[in-house]
């Protein structure tokens, strides 16, 4: 057993460590910002092309955004390394792998003209996966993630109700619910560090 003064000393030490390390909980939020913006750009460009508001070759912007996000993830992964992986990073990467695989399969199916999922199928699946990861984080007591998840689910509902505006709805959902969540997390990390 320990006495009161030792207990006080132990608690003070735990407080110091928790205070110092709590900012790490927000590490990984930049993935959400980058992928949120890239996904929003992709959905928006495809919708603008479908609505003939921009030339067809503008789809290249969507691809560039996707490639930029992939390159960022590779660079970020290498710079951080495998030594320390935070909760946000782990959840993000797990869902990213699954969502990328499923989206790729859907994309290939659509490419061959099967049209099973509709023209906005890959983007919908991507948003659905994004809402799962954000809501999973919310389950661990993160209210900001809860709001982000609700926004993403709402964007999916709107996209489903108004298919002709699906790209705009999904784009807004990714921008507000996913990138927005990442930005708020980064701001929270800044506050913790300060």
């Amino acid at each position: 057993m320990i006495d009161g003064s030792e207990a006080r000393e132990h608690l003070a030490m735990v407080d110091r460590i928790v205070e110092r390390t709590s900012s790490r909980l927000n590490v990984g939020a930049e993935y959400f910002v980058v992928w949120g913006i890239a996904s929003a750009t992709m959905s928006l460009m495809y919708q603008l092309v479908a609505d003939r508001l921009v030339p067809t070759n503008s789809v290249a912007i969507a691809w560039a955004a996707g490639i930029a996000a992939v390159l960022f993830s590779i660079w970020r992964g290498k710079s951080v390394g495998q030594q320390r992986l935070t909760f946000l990073e782990r959840e993000f990467l797990t869902v990213l792998k699954v969502a990328m695989l499923v989206t790729f399969v859907v994309f290939v199916i659509e490419l061959f003209g099967a049209n099973i999922f509709g023209p906005i199928g890959p983007a919908s699946i991507w948003s659905f996966a994004a809402s799962i990861v954000v809501l999973y984080i919310a389950m661990h007591g993160n209210r900001r993630a809860l709001i982000g998840g609700i926004v993403l689910v709402a964007s999916l509902a709107v996209a489903n109700l108004y298919p002709s505006f699906a790209g705009y709805a999904l784009s807004a959902g990714m921008l507000l619910g996913y990138a927005g969540f990442g930005i708020v997390e980064l701001l929270a990390a800044g506050r913790n560090a300060g």
């Binding site: 057993m1 207990a7 132990h10 460590i17 495998q82 935070t86």
Partner: protein, 94 residues
């Protein structure tokens, strides 16, 4: 009170891991400030008791160990901190 967490080094290790998914041996050593052998021994006890999970991997062809807190470790840590707080509450004010 949790006997295993009465050690200051083990308590510090578990507190460090609370906010991390994984932390390497060198990171823990840096933050806890224990010697190599001392930290190994404490980590061994935490791993053996199921409070901490150990993973051995190769990074740049060099062996590395990384650690993370298990659900059991997290539960025991919370209970331990609560019992420390209770001890202080019961203590007569000086």
């Amino acid at each position: 009170m949790d006997d295993l967490l009465l050690s200051k080094i083990r308590l510090a290790v578990v507190a460090e891991l609370l906010a991390s998914e994984w932390a390497s041996f060198s990171e823990l050593q840096k933050s806890v400030g224990a010697t190599n052998g001392n930290l190994s021994s404490h980590l061994g006890k935490l791993v053996e008791s199921g409070y901490v999970e150990e993973e051995k991997l190769f990074l740049d062809r060099r062996p590395h160990s990384r650690y993370r807190l298990t659900s059991l470790g997290r539960e025991r840590m919370i209970a331990h901190v609560r019992s420390l707080q209770l001890l202080l509450e019961k203590e007569p004010q000086s």
